[in-house]
Symmetry: C2
DNA sequence: CCGTTTCCGGAATCAGGTTCATCTTACTGG
DNA sequence: CCAGTAAGATGAACCTGATTCCGGAAACGG
């Protein structure tokens, strides 16, 4: 019996309340919020949180699963409407944008992309797959070199997401993204370098 | 009076012992070692560590200051013996190599490059300056684009250093480095893309 | 050798995450 | 509508680790 019976009503309600409180806290820029405080805001006791999530990290992962799903769905949609290289470029910028949404998301993206945290293993794999889709299409059309895979690019992007809070970080993030984008096209296309501010 | 009188002999000895124990532990692959354990190995009490270092992080920083100095001195030496773009390429590879020396160094490099930790503010600034030297020379010779600064590149490299422990991570690190290198030359040179395995 | 000053030791304190024995509550069949 | 029971909730206690702090010990200057 893989999935036991559905959650009891109060359990479902509490679970939702915890996720909501956690999400709000993270997006509000307090990624380090204590478990006890999340519980307080959700109107439950800490024990309740641990009934639903194995560990604090597991809760964090759950909070961001939705965002990750959204991000992973983007490549297919972008390829529908744009040439492979343009789709790739847009996706990279999308990542930066998402990192900009809030410190919390940025922290999660960084953990997904730049670490080996087993907690985000699943998210990482899906993300790499999404990138593979773009890179494959780009390589097939000859606009992108074929010797880089999603996992590698994901790694390379890790640094971009760890830089919120710096003065003017968003410009810098766009610049780094452009750098990687150009690196990906190096020797595969005849386009001019991406405009990178002045 | 900026610098008070020299440390008492036993103080100097203990300080050294602590740094040595910490360095050995980090290089041996236990970056998370407890302060108490560092103290034990150095033959002192925890209080002694806190007399010399404000915080655990401060101790870590001190341990790596030497390595950082070494790394920061490299650009000038490389420019003496190689063309600007080749010097840049070699320096990027040198970073990967250093990250490979041990998990500890890798952790520190990552903290320096990819975060805003005030602890490494100094190291970060010096590193960015070192990269500026290389980028400036490259731009002047026309081999590298002129719109990227050291700080930005440092950020981009952050991800590379957070990937130890993955299977085959070193190859991947070299690949990412090559990607960035090519991105830096995009539109500025006529060379072929860096060989990046396949 | 004595008075000072600087250090050292290590138990106590603090901070957060995690656990667990006990009390509640939602669902169930009758 | 009600008792029985399993699922859920609680929150004080526990654990791990960093940091603090108050005597006691050691070095230095004379």
């Amino acid at each position: 019996m893989p999935s036991s019976r559905p959650l009891r009503s109060d359990a479902r309600r509490n679970r939702e309340a915890v996720l909501t409180s956690a999400r709000e806290a993270f997006l509000a820029g307090e990624p380090g919020i204590r478990v006890e405080e999340i519980a307080r805001r959700a109107g439950v006791a800490v024990g309740t949180i641990y009934r639903h999530f194995d560990t604090r990290e597991a809760l964090v992962e759950e909070v961001y699963r939705h965002e990750v799903d959204e991000l992973c769905a983007a490549p297919a949609a972008l390829l529908d409407e744009h040439a492979p290289d343009e789709a790739l470029r847009r996706f990279l910028l999308l990542l930066v944008e998402h990192a900009a949404v809030g410190k919390g998301m940025s922290v999660a993206l960084e953990a997904i992309m730049a670490t080996d945290s087993p907690v985000f293993g699943d998210a990482r794999a899906r993300m790499a797959q999404a990138l593979d889709l773009l890179l494959g299409a780009g390589a097939a059309s000859g606009a992108v070199r074929g010797d880089v895979n999603g996992r590698t690019l994901l790694r390379a992007l890790g640094g971009v997401c760890g830089m919120r809070a710096t003065d003017g970080w968003q410009d810098e993030a766009v610049r780094i993204t452009g750098l990687l984008f150009d690196g990906l096209r190096f020797g595969a296309a005849d386009a001019a370098p991406t405009a990178v501010t002045h």
